[in-house]
């Protein structure tokens, strides 16, 4: 678990005044510093939480972009240029991760040691539809759906249009979409539990979220396949 920032003081390269390591600018002389070691939240000076104010995040992103972007350092000395590039990449990576609810959840849980994502799912090589992780309550429906998808694809190849199959698939799509929406609602509930809780409560919320994220990934891959098949 690496959330606590190291507070080893280092000297600013420009004015030599010591500053906290995780800072983008020297508090004393305002010069740009090499990328700090902290996590994505610390880039924005935010407490690591799952519910965040997106307007505040965007405002900070624009404010920092104005100061850090390589465009501001086109005529600066070489090392300041390099740091501007590295710092801005960090800022952009951090913003991209935190502004998206799912990326943010995965990121924060990973910071707390959770194993999430396709690389842990024992995926079938391209990361899609890992049979070992089919949510147990959906086994039967998923089996039926996959059959229908196959039938639909076969029918498309021969140019036949099966209206009944099409309406079945459309129905299934709506059902799985509502399941997905339910997962998102559950995730939000767990966010609040995690943000408010400590120790044990967080552990429980974290476990629930890891399971929800896997279920969500599964559902959204399935939905993508159905949508593709219908739209083909």
């Amino acid at each position: 678990m690496k959330v606590v920032e190291s507070a080893v003081p280092v000297a600013c390269w420009s004015c030599s005044v010591a500053h906290n390591e995780s800072t983008l600018f020297c508090p004393h002389c305002s010069k740009i510093q090499p990328p700090p070691d902290g996590d994505y939240y610390s880039v924005f000076g935010l407490t690591p939480k799952l519910e965040i104010d997106l307007a505040v995040l965007e405002h900070e992103f624009y404010r920092l972009s104005r100061k850090l972007h390589p465009d501001r350092f086109a005529r600066a000395q070489e090392r300041e240029k390099e740091w501007s590039l590295a710092d801005t990449a960090l800022l952009n990576d951090a913003y991209r991760t935190l502004k998206d609810p799912l990326r943010r959840t995965e990121y924060l849980l990973k910071l707390h040691g959770a194993c999430i994502g396709e690389e842990f799912a024992g995926a079938d090589g391209n990361g899609r539809r890992d049979p070992s992780r089919v949510p147990a309550d959906l086994l039967e429906e998923v089996f039926d759906l996959n059959m229908q998808i196959e039938e639909m694809r076969a029918a498309r190849k021969t140019g036949a249009i099966d209206r009944e199959l099409e309406s079945n698939l459309t129905e299934a799509k709506e059902k799985f979409q509502s399941l997905l929406d339910a997962v998102d609602a559950d995730l939000r509930t767990q966010w609040r539990a995690w943000d408010a809780g400590n120790g044990a409560a967080r552990g429980t919320a974290q476990k629930a979220m890891v399971a929800l994220l896997d279920r969500r990934r599964y559902l959204s891959n399935l939905l993508r396949d159905v949508t593709e098949t219908l739209g083909a």
């Binding site: 624009y62 972009s65 104005r66 972007h69 390589p70 465009d71 501001r72 086109a74 005529r75 590039l85 590295a86 801005t88 990449a89 960090l90 952009n92 990576d93 913003y95 991209r96 090589g125 391209n126």
Partner: protein, 647 residues
């Protein structure tokens, strides 16, 4: 001496332009012929007879003239070849008279045969850039060494790198590559500080881009971009050309493809017809064939629109994808900006109107700025942002995205995506690699760009060899590789072995691209920017211009138009002429230039009279071209007394 100004350059498929910031307003810099557009055409002049001097090239309008007489020494649309490998060029070769050198090996940057010599595409582009650089230096009266160059938003890493290489060969320090649609948004955003979502639809000569941006407090944040680097006005020309070639074959029994000069003349006629059809409801082909017959054909606009429908429809899918990636509907687009000469076609405007439901919402697309110039103007704005030279641009900031996902080839040839398309750049990703065999000291990594699932279907960017890994048991080394896409959209890679703490050595082998040494060896000339040399060159150029106009004035009395001038006008010409003769052998280039301009202005009415006479004689049956020959200058030149183009 200061580093000088930063100029903005639009290095286009068909035309190229250079612009700069005059105070708070961007302005296009005209060439010596007075034209803002420099056709992206390069002609190799006949080689010097002594066999020793460097070959010279002609760029722009004068090179275009050579296209019909010596097509084998001329190249155009070279942008289509930038950053491409031999196999990728095959499609281009079907449609364009590019002659590839026959000794190109796989993996090498292909070279184009021009007369007796061979050039890589970046070298050809460098000649165009050098011409623009000279135009800017001539106009500004100071050396120009720093530039912003625009590229299609959908250009991949190799195409971007090739463009940067070209800049370096031309003696330009390329401070930034800017995406063309984003540059256009900058040009439009300058005088209206507002918030909103805009779409830039950019259909140029050879490429199509669509970008969706969010504007807020001077920040231009690109949400998504998409496009097709093989779609543009060229495709329309090719369709018209193909139809004409077919008809000529069936009606006159001539396979014109055996006559490259005639094909070029036909292509020019096709382009003229296309341009006319944007304002007129019908256009006419009338071309003389090698056997003396004429190919005559009327094309009504309705037929033209049917012919090009399929080309225009190909812009739809990228637009829809860009909207989906930005997570918005067409109705949420507040403004649409049209860029590129092809957006003058009424059918294109109708398509854009439908797609973004503009008419239905009481809106019109923005076309206030010249679609041929808007990208260069935006490049000048970005140049000013980088130079920190203007208060207006101080508050502006461009946040662009990478158009294509970056991935590495994983087991089984599938792509593991590490940076998603439409990520704001600079963007980075860190990946960890290890060894599979005991004592293994190197690991090979294949980096690709594209959206397909299989690496072989994506564009191969480079193969990296991580070398110098300390020998350890399999799986024990932990090599951290950092991929970083910089603000130009170009990939940088660095690596270190974490257990030994050693920086791993990376041998980067771009799949297609020039090495640093190769670029170095292709630098067009030694760019010695000693002020003295530069002033010398300006002086030589100014004297040449003076000689040209003096010679033209000397021929004046032989032209009937001369008799129409008033005594006052003749006296003014004589005075200006005497003044120029007096200063032209001095060492003050500015004085020579000013005297040249004064004489040019004094003869302006004479020039107009000659022009009228030329038009009258054209109506009497002479061709415009012949009338132009009578004047010693093509009538398409903006001013018959204009100075010659220098090289």
């Amino acid at each position: 001496m200061s580093e000088g100004r930063v100029v903005g350059i639009d290095l286009g498929t068909t035309n190229s332009l250079v612009a700069y910031m005059e105070g708070d307003a961007p302005q296009v810099i005209p060439g010596a012929d007075g034209s803002n557009l420099v056709p992206s055409v390069v002609a190799l002049d006949p080689l010097p007879a002594d066999g020793r001097s460097r070959p010279t090239v002609t760029v722009g309008n004068s090179a275009r003239k050579a296209l019909i007489e010596t097509p084998e020494r001329v190249i155009y649309s070279v942008k289509r070849l930038m950053g491409r490998g031999l196999d990728e060029m095959k499609d281009e070769l079907k449609l364009f008279p590019f002659r590839l050198a026959d000794d190109v090996e796989a993996g090498e940057v292909p070279r184009v045969q021009l007369g007796e010599l061979r050039f890589t595409p970046p070298e050809i582009s460098a000649y165009i850039l050098r011409q623009l650089k000279r135009n800017a230096e001539r106009f500004l009266g100071e050396p120009v060494t720093h530039a912003v160059i625009t590229v299609p938003a959908y250009f991949n890493d190799a195409q971007r790198q090739a463009t940067k290489d070209a800049g370096r060969m031309a003696g330009l320090h390329v401070l930034r590559l800017v995406n063309e649609p984003t540059a256009a948004a900058l040009a439009y955003g300058l005088d209206r500080a507002k918030a909103g979502t805009i779409a830039v639809y950019d259909l140029g000569g050879g490429t199509f881009d669509i970008s969706i941006l969010k504007l807020r407090d001077g920040i231009f944040e690109v949400q998504s971009t998409n496009g097709d680097t093989h779609l543009g006005g060229d495709d329309i020309d090719n369709l018209l050309l193909a139809i004409a070639l077919d008809e000529i074959y069936s009606e006159h029994g001539i396979d014109l493809r055996a006559h490259p000069g005639a094909v070029q003349a036909l292509r020019k006629a096709a382009i003229d017809a296309k341009v006319r059809l944007s304002t007129e409801t019908s256009a006419r082909f009338d071309v003389e064939l090698p056997n003396g017959d004429r190919y005559q054909r009327e094309i009504p606009r309705a037929v033209f629109e049917m012919i090009i429908e399929r080309v225009l429809e190909r812009t739809m899918a990228p637009c829809k994808q860009a909207l989906a990636d930005a997570g918005i509907t067409p109705a949420e687009i507040d403004e649409v900006v049209l860029v590129g000469g092809s957006t003058r076609i009424p059918a294109v405007r109708n398509l854009v109107d439908d797609l973004f439901q503009l008419g239905a919402r009481g809106k019109r697309p923005h076309t206030e700025l010249n679609p041929d110039e808007v990208v260069a103007l935006g490049a000048a704005v970005q140049a000013s942002i980088l130079a920190g030279a203007s208060k207006t641009t101080d508050e502006m900031l461009l946040l662009d995205v990478t158009p294509l996902s970056l991935g590495i080839e994983a087991l089984g040839g599938v792509v593991a995506r590490i940076i998603q398309r439409n990520s704001t750049i600079p963007a980075s990703a860190t990946e960890h690699f290890t060894t599979g065999v005991d004592g293994q000291t190197s690991v090979a990594i294949h980096v690709v760009q594209g959206e397909r699932e299989i690496a072989a279907d994506c564009r191969s960017l480079a193969r990296f060899d991580l070398k110098g890994i300390p020998p350890m048991s399999a799986g024990l080394p932990r090599i951290e590789v950092r991929f970083l896409i910089d603000a130009d959209g170009i990939l940088q890679v660095s690596a270190r072995e974490q257990r030994s703490g050693k920086a791993a050595e990376i041998a980067v082998k771009p799949t297609y691209g020039l090495t640093d040494d190769q670029v170095e060896s292709m630098i067009l000339e030694s760019f010695d920017h000693a002020e003295e040399d530069f002033l010398k060159r300006l002086l030589v150029e100014a004297r040449n211009e003076a000689e040209t106009i003096l010679a033209a004035v000397a021929r004046g009395p032989m032209n009937p138009a001369w008799q129409q001038l008033t005594g006052e006008e003749l006296a003014a010409i004589a005075a200006a002429r005497r003044h120029l003769v007096a200063v032209k052998d001095g060492n003050d280039f500015a004085a020579i230039r000013n005297a040249t301009i004064a004489l040019d202005q004094a003869t302006r009415r004479f020039a107009e009279l000659m022009m009228d006479a030329a038009v009258t004689s054209a109506i009497r049956g002479k061709t415009m071209e012949a009338a132009g020959d009578d004047l010693g200058e093509a009538v398409t030149a903006p001013h018959p007394m204009a100075a010659a183009e220098f090289n």
